[in-house]
Amino acid sequence: MKKHSFHKFTELRPALEFMEKNGAQSKIIAGGTDMLVDIRKGASKLDPVKHIVDIHDIQELRNIEIKGNVCRIGACCTFKEIGINEDVRSYYPVLKMAVDRIGSPQIRNVATIGGNICNLAACADSIAPLLVYDAQVRLCSVGDERIVPLENILIKPYKTDIHPDEMLTEIILPIPDKDWKYCFYKLGRRSGVSISRLSYAILLKTNKDKIEDIHFAFGALFSVPKRLLDLEQELRHQTISADLWKDVSRKVAQKIIEETGIRWSTPYKIPTLQQLFFTSLMDLT
């Protein structure tokens, strides 16, 4: 097993200073539920890594708070902490539904939302819900910070656009109004401790029989969790019908095939997604 030096921080500032010097050769560990598996496997992506930087106990990154018209979720909040938070429950029910079903209770006790984003597995379950809520992320380095939409940093599986000296410190979610109908669907091979075969989050606002606004995002279907903004735009003000929802489901499927091509799982996933997505949209309306 490869040896790494281990650096544990309990405050943000020294951690950022360490990253400024050593970021290119460091890997941040927040909960460790992905990283420790990679380390044990001797994953090649860890070859350039000399330092493991543990930020799990940086308390500044463990808060969930509402201030003004936004909710800030610290990057080191565990799924357990997010799942039991009252504000998350009332404003972001889709996020709650997603995090409550990640892994097992043991995993949820340590795995963090920041880790889920930064590891960026195609099947990362918390990302699709964050996308439909228009999440932004705060990326900090010593003496600098930037706030960008979450989708902007999702490049490809296991690759984010976070600079070596930067750290994801919080997720910023605008407070949505209460008119959204919502749905989160996760399909795993089993009901407990399962990795998503596919997942999606839907927010829908209707005005009589018309769509006022709709957001949807998908997990484990595209190379990274993804929202389909063009399709959402196209749907605004359209009249709701079973035929419309069939059409939407087909268009989503087509976009997936366009991006990923035909894979071993396509004959299963694509027909399955269309029927499930159609059923969810019908159930919402």
Partner: protein, 788 residues
């Protein structure tokens, strides 16, 4: 319970080893440590089949901290071993047969040094073509795995009864179906661990580990070490699950550790990681089963032609015994006048396959019970009716010509109870009517057209039934006898041990309950001794659901012997009639007619002081059984058990995910001794059977296992199987202790078949391949992700 004649038997009592297990005090193989202990890492090659040209250990040997590198050259005795046939190298030297093979051990106290040295062993291999598809193993031009055998055939069991041609002529319907089942992993929570410890006596070794069958292990180690059996002491640690899986693998690991132990004169441990465990341990046999069945208009089975092929993998292991059980039970619990069965096991380069809970029965039950439902459907009969017409009744004749007369044939009883408790008939008809019209159009196109979308709920419910009969214990596999040793101390406390081993199934508690009932004491008064081959006689392997029946009877015999001696003493003491009868209960021995009464411990003290022998050996040899290998006829087992399970499922027709909502399990295991343990067997067996039904599969590509840890090899979690309702029908057996028979394996063998029938009820579509995973049901095919 007031009229219950037993004080202990049949009660719900907590296990005597529960406290240590739930508090973490119990010592498993990896918990113990010895001074100077070295660790051994195993050198494998990622080539499934090839000739070894050279083994170069010179670089590895130089690594500081490495004590020794062990190869075949260090083996004092047989380097070729096996539980039935001798075909598996302890250390590979000329050939690699499968990816589980081990060429060398690196031994040292420093794990880092050992790991480093492992990478420095250089092995030159000339790769050979690979035989991975077992259905072609008997082709004329097939590659031979063990060329000296001139064929890949491990064994062939024919069974011939009646006139098969005539039977088909008399049939109104004939259907032919092929069923396949996958290799699966035992998935015991504790990976293999063994430690060989040298003794101050020359050529004596003590071996500690998670060993299922200490006596088999002792035989193999003694052969490899070329020492007498008595020189090898196998001491069994607490076992973290086995399910039939800690037999051969542990024997060969013990042998390797012992070879290393002899060479360096220090304790040597081999402890497998989960990945190593899955790669190296044997699996359940994949089966391909072709059934041709003829039936009359009235639903009477006329003929069954069965052709079964089993993948034995690279080594014979238990294949000859596993497939023998299949040939005996292949028709299911149904009377068929004309039967023509062939069961063959073959060699391939795949992971070798051996014993696993069920042992050749879950496969054939999946086939025959699916088939019975399909036949019923064809004849517009209910699944119950067709089983009533053909099912075994008292004095029925089995496919092998055995008349079932010496025990209660309770097939109808278990079916009645299960169908009544689950409201089977009503639900079956309701779901059938509800879903049959819709059919189940699986799209071949990726993008659905308008009428391929379906409105409303995707959830469909189904209910399915399956039943089985099962021969108890070893049957005509071989010698079937076992013993138990009881030693009562002068204060009335008791040592107990039997020749069979605790594998986590609760044998110690069951045996303690048997002894406690006989002696009128509590199981808590019994100290069950650590399993050690030097303490008790070879009682055969702990397999075939034989412990309660065979070992329990031996324990009872031992306890009865001591009780008789105490009674004899009390007759003298109290001047009673020679025929006097005593009551042993609640720690007292009493003679009701005279009112004499003494505590059990006082009686023991008196006996001790009078020189009465309070120690005894009980022995039970199974009644005679017989098998004619040429035609597959004979009384295969001396008694049988019957079971019926009904599965209720919810299938999401869109995702094709199955939720096993409820299982009603009814088993006649004879008199229940340990009721909590028996319930545990059902809950565990059903969950394991559900995993076999809906998700478990060892994916093998080019002989290499693709899913080597539990992230990819999925087993059900506690939320994947809904309620399990367990019922016992207790027809006492004439042979077992207090009328007990077998339960462990029957609980698992039926579940997958019941689920398959329930899924057919929900979707109006039948499936022929396990597991019923998402892709299988959605596309009718198995889709795999192949690791790069």
């Amino acid at each position: 319970m007031l009229n219950d004649k037993y004080k202990v038997i049949g009660k719900k009592l907590p296990r005597t080893d529960a406290y240590e297990k739930v508090t973490g005090r119990a010592q498993y193989a990896a918990d113990i440590s010895f001074p100077g202990m070295c660790f051994a890492a195993q050198k494998k090659i990622t080539v499934p089949h090839g000739m070894i040209k050279n083994i170069d250990i010179s670089q590895a040997d130089k690594v500081a901290g490495v004590e020794a590198i062990i190869t075949h050259k260090d083996v004092p005795g047989n380097n070729i071993t096996g539980v039935i046939k001798y075909d598996q190298p302890v250390f590979s030297f000329d050939k690699i047969y499968c990816p589980a093979d081990v060429v060398a051990l690196v031994v040292g106290e420093d794990k880092e040094a050992v790991r480093k040295a492992l990478t420095l062993i250089k092995i030159e291999v000339e790769e050979l073509p690979v035989l991975s598809d077992y259905t072609h193993a008997l082709d004329n031009d097939a590659l031979l795995i063990h060329p000296e055998n001139k064929s890949n055939l491990i064994n062939h069991y024919p069974l011939r009864k009646g006139n098969i041609e005539k039977g088909f002529q008399e049939s109104d319907f004939i259907i032919e179906r092929t069923y396949t089942t996958p290799a699966i992993e035992h998935a015991y929570i504790e990976p293999e661990c063994i430690t060989a410890v040298p003794d101050f006596r020359k050529d004596v070794y003590k071996i500690y580990g998670s060993v299922q069958n200490p006596f088999t292990c002792r035989r193999i180690v003694a052969q490899v070490m070329k020492v007498p059996l008595a020189n090898i002491h196998i001491i069994q640690n607490e076992l973290g699950g086995s399910f039939g899986g800690k037999d051969d693998i542990m024997d060969i690991l013990a042998a390797r550790a012992c070879v290393a132990c002899k060479k360096i004169g220090k304790p040597v441990r081999i402890q497998l990681s989960r990945e190593e465990s899955i790669i190296e341990s044997y699996k359940r046999h994949p089966y391909s089963m072709r059934y041709k069945v003829g039936i009359s208009h009235k639903g009477i089975l006329k003929a069954m032609k069965i052709d079964i092929l089993a993948d034995g993998g690279a080594y014979a292991s238990m294949s000859p015994f596993v497939t023998w059980r299949s040939v005996v039970q292949a028709t299911g619990p149904y009377e068929v006048k004309n039967v023509h069965t062939d069961v063959r096991a073959v060699y391939t380069n795949n992971p070798y396959t051996g014993a696993m809970r069920g042992f050749g029965s879950p496969q054939i039950i999946f086939a025959q019970e699916s088939l019975m439902d399909e036949l019923a459907d064809k004849l517009h009969m209910s699944p119950i009716e067709i089983r009533r017409i053909n099912g075994y009744k008292q004095d029925s004749e089995t496919a092998s010509g055995q008349i079932l007369s010496n025990h209660v044939v309770s097939l109808n009883q278990v079916i009645d109870k299960a169908t009544k408790e689950s409201d089977f008939e009503k639900k079956y008809e309701t779901y059938k009517a509800k879903y049959s019209v819709e059919g189940n159009s699986h799209s071949v196109n990726l993008i659905l057209n308008d009428n391929q979308f379906s409105a409303g709920s995707n959830i469909k419910e189904g209910i399915g039934l399956a039943c089985s009969f099962r021969g108890c214990s070893l049957g005509a596999e071989g010698i079937d006898a076992t013993g138990a040793l009881i030693s009562i101390q002068k204060d009335g406390s008791v040592y107990l041990i039997s020749g069979l081993a605790e594998n986590g199934q609760g044998l110690r508690m069951t045996f303690s309950m048997v002894a406690a009932e006989v002696l009128g004491i509590s199981p808590d008064d019994i100290y069950y001794l650590e399993q050690d081959t030097s303490r008790v006689a070879d009682g055969g392997p702990t397999v075939a659901s034989r412990s309660t029946l065979m070992g329990g009877e031996a324990v009872k015999a031992a306890a009865d012997t001591v009780r008789n001696r105490i009674e004899k003493m009390l007759i003298d003491e109290w001047n009673l009639d020679e025929e006097a009868t005593f009551n042993f209960a609640d720690h007292y021995i009493s003679h009701n007619e005279t009112g004499h009464r003494i505590t059990f411990s006082e009686a023991c003290n008196t006996a001790y002081l009078s020189g009465v022998n309070l120690n005894a050996y009980g022995w039970f040899k199974a009644p005679e059984v017989d098998w004619n290998e040429e035609i597959g006829q004979g009384p295969a087992y001396f008694t049988y058990v019957y079971g019926c399970q009904i599965a209720e499922v919810e299938v999401n027709a869109a995702s094709c995910k199955i939720f096993v909502k409820r299982v009603t399990a009814v088993h006649d295991a004879g008199k229940i001794i340990n009721r909590l343990g028996a319930l545990g067997q059902i809950y565990g067996g059903v969950s394991m059977g559900a995993g076999y039904g809906i998700m478990e599969e060892v994916i093998v590509k080019n002989a290499e296992i693709q899913n080597i840890n539990f992230d990819e090899y999925l087993i059900p979690t506690s939320v994947d199987v809904g309620g399990i309702r367990a019922f016992f029908v207790e027809n006492p057996d004439r042979f077992g202790p207090f009328g007990a028979k077998s339960l462990g394996e029957p609980t698992l063998e039926i579940t997958a078949a019941a689920i398959n029938n329930a899924v057919a009820n929900a979707l109006s579509k039948r499936f022929y391949h396990l597991p019923l995973d998402l892709e299988q049901i959605k596309t009718g095919k198995t889709l795999y992700q192949i690791k790069k």
